[in-house]
């Protein structure tokens, strides 16, 4: 009996030792990653809020409470902020629908038995792997008012020339003017410069959309198509009644990811227009950058950054919520 008790307690002790050792090992495994994340990701998230409550022009100044926020939302910075927010959402509105539509059509065609699929795919993915700075430097000249080939091509069908990235006038305004109609300022539409940045964005991310949609198409059971075809469904009906509904998780996914992408866009706008012409491409990110980096108003910029983060987080949370539900029966 006493031997048994000793054995039990020995076993318990050795198990405890194993558990402790496993814990210690696990923490050592986690240490490098969490040390980096703690210093450059977790702590800064709180530090951002701290900075945003101070007047902090290059160096830390007086505590302002929510002063920076009220300046941005209602005060001296309000006009620029709301305008940048409106520019950001306009940019999203003229980018995302096209990204989804074009990506969907190309993925749908690519998914079918078609010759040269591999080559097409390689070409479509190419912009996605090219750095934004290099690609934007090229686009700047493709759309150059004088030397760019876009104007040259449009000219051959009697349209243009346009100033593209240097054109602050609204797109609808310009179309109206072409037909001699004066479009009221409210309906002027995005500046041609912003529309050109949108074209860049659509071009740059096409490959991403195609990858996601192709993966989604691969998940649709073939039997659905076969059954529908036995019932005499047309190709449009197949697309409309089977493909589109079953692809809705991917469409939603692309929608949220692209929204977040637009909210975060910096490199392409910085290189293509630097916020101009006449601030028509000054999105929230550009506004943050100008405030904290070019004007050195770190406190104000940080407050704007916090507001931007809140908007991005809202999109992220919606995405997580909806997709988590989707996946359970997907």
């Amino acid at each position: 009996m006493s031997v048994g008790a000793i054995r039990t307690s020995q076993r318990a002790a050795s198990r405890r030792r194993r558990v402790i050792s496993e814990n210690v090992q696990a923490y050592l495994f986690l240490l490098p990653a969490f040390a980096v994340l703690a210093v450059f990701k977790i702590w800064p998230a709180f530090f951002a809020i701290y900075i945003s409550t101070f007047k902090w022009d290059i160096i830390q100044g007086a505590f302002r409470g929510i002063g920076n926020y009220t300046d941005i939302l209602f005060g001296s910075r309000a006009e620029a902020f709301w305008r940048s927010l409106s520019t950001t959402f306009t940019y999203a509105a003229i980018t995302i629908p096209f990204e989804i539509a074009i990506g969907l059509v190309i993925a749908y065609i690519l998914f079918q038995k078609i010759r040269g699929r591999a080559i097409y795919r390689t070409v479509y993915y190419l912009p996605y792997v090219t750095s934004t700075v290099a690609a934007a430097a090229v686009f700047e000249w493709v759309f150059h008012p004088q030397y760019g080939l876009v104007n040259e091509m449009l000219g051959s069908i009697g349209v243009g020339p346009f100033r593209f990235l240097q054109e602050p006038d609204g797109v609808f305004e310009m179309v109206g003017a072409h037909f001699g109609i004066q479009v009221p300022g409210l309906l002027a539409g995005p500046s041609l410069a912003l529309a050109t940045v949108a074209i860049f964005s659509i071009w740059h991310f096409l490959g991403f959309q195609i990858v996601v949609f192709l993966a989604g198409l691969g998940n649709i059971p073939e039997q659905y198509y076969e059954a529908a075809k036995l019932d005499g469904a047309t190709q449009w009906q197949l697309f409309r009644k089977i493909t589109l509904p079953l692809l809705s998780p991917q469409i939603f996914f692309v929608f949220t990811i692209a929204s977040i992408g637009v909210l975060r866009a910096f490199n392409e706008i910085y290189v293509l227009t630097n916020g101009g012409p006449l601030d028509t491409t000054r999105t929230v990110t550009m506004n943050v950058f100008r405030t904290f980096f070019q004007q050195g108003q770190i406190g104000l910029g940080s407050a704007m950054g916090v507001l931007l983060t809140v908007i991005i987080l809202a999109f992220t949370l919606i995405q997580f919520q909806v997709l988590e539900r989707r996946v359970t029966y997907g």
Partner: protein, 294 residues
């Protein structure tokens, strides 16, 4: 709590073709694909052809579609106008260290989350998920302050371009997913053979996870090679700056000699385009599996 994954494993493989896919309108389909392909490829065509034009031809209106003479010496000229060898070396160094470092930190952390039991696992995982959701914009300004002279004093160093990126929640998630898929029997067998965690990780887990590791490495390398905003604000010394910042500066130096800018853009994108052509499968799988979008 789990990271949403819209794209289940099976979907990552090359999609199965519809045996019975509708065949109508093949010509139309090719027309659409070619038109889109031409539009997508055109900027690359423009970059390469413009990089071979003379200054005179590049600035002729109307522009020429084909260069009349091929001026390969433009590349030498552009190469000589800035310290490109240095920029390339800087970028390869930073990207290399970043990639290796991110692999190490994420392998260890992913293994702990996937295959070890420890106190506070759920809480730490939730914390990781929170950092995953936190966009880079949230930490841009505070990090800018943290690395300033007043705190870490890291302006104009390689360290400032490396340290913040040595661990990402994304890589940890991706590898954790992979490590969890390894059958427990393998672990039990290894334990009977007297292997500890580190040995099991090294000699069993890593060898069968090579595709996932390559995906993490490629994505990490791309991120480093293409990074722009962060090095733009925390470096000013040209000797330390990476290639994208250098290319942006070169836009001003080249001015209207844009044929030289196109030559520079060509050699800046060349390494990643080559990497893409070689590692296309891994990169596409990585995107499909994780849904990251640059």
């Amino acid at each position: 709590m789990n990271v949403p994954n819209v794209l289940p494993r099976a979907s990552v493989r090359t999609p199965v073709r519809h045996v019975t896919a509708p065949q109508g309108g093949t010509v139309l389909k090719h027309a659409v694909l070619m038109l889109a392909g031409a539009a997508v490829a055109y900027p690359f065509y423009f970059m390469l052809t413009a990089s071979l034009k003379s200054f005179f031809e590049a600035t002729t209106t109307p522009p020429t579609f084909f260069p009349t003479q091929l001026h390969f010496e433009n590349y030498a000229t552009a190469w000589g106008m800035a310290n490109w060898p240095r920029f390339f070396a800087n970028t390869f160094f930073v990207a290399g260290v970043n990639t290796a470092g991110e692999l190490i930190t994420s392998i260890l952390a992913a293994y702990a989350f996937a295959r070890m039991n420890f106190k506070g696992k759920a809480a730490l995982f939730a914390l990781l998920l929170a950092t995953y959701m936190m966009p880079a914009e949230a930490t841009l300004i505070p990090n800018f302050v943290i690395v300033s002279r007043r705190y870490l004093n890291l302006y104009d160093t390689y360290a400032v371009q490396i340290l913040p990126f040595l661990a990402t929640a994304f890589s940890i998630f991706l590898l954790r997913q992979q490590f969890m898929s390894i059958p427990n029997e393998l672990h039990d067998a290894a334990v009977i053979d007297g292997a500890n965690h580190l040995r099991f990780l090294w000699s069993v887990v890593l060898p069968i996870s090579v595709p996932a590791l390559v995906t993490v490495a490629i994505i990490s390398f791309y991120g480093s090679w293409n990074s722009f905003q962060w090095p733009l604000i925390v470096t000013s010394n040209p000797d330390i700056r990476p290639i994208q910042v250098a290319l942006n500066a070169f836009r001003a130096e080249a001015g209207s000699s844009y044929h030289l800018l196109m030559a520079a853009a060509s050699f800046v994108v060349a390494p990643v385009v080559l990497l893409y052509l070689v590692g296309q499968r891994y990169l596409v799988q990585g995107v499909a599996r994780t849904g990251i979008r640059g």
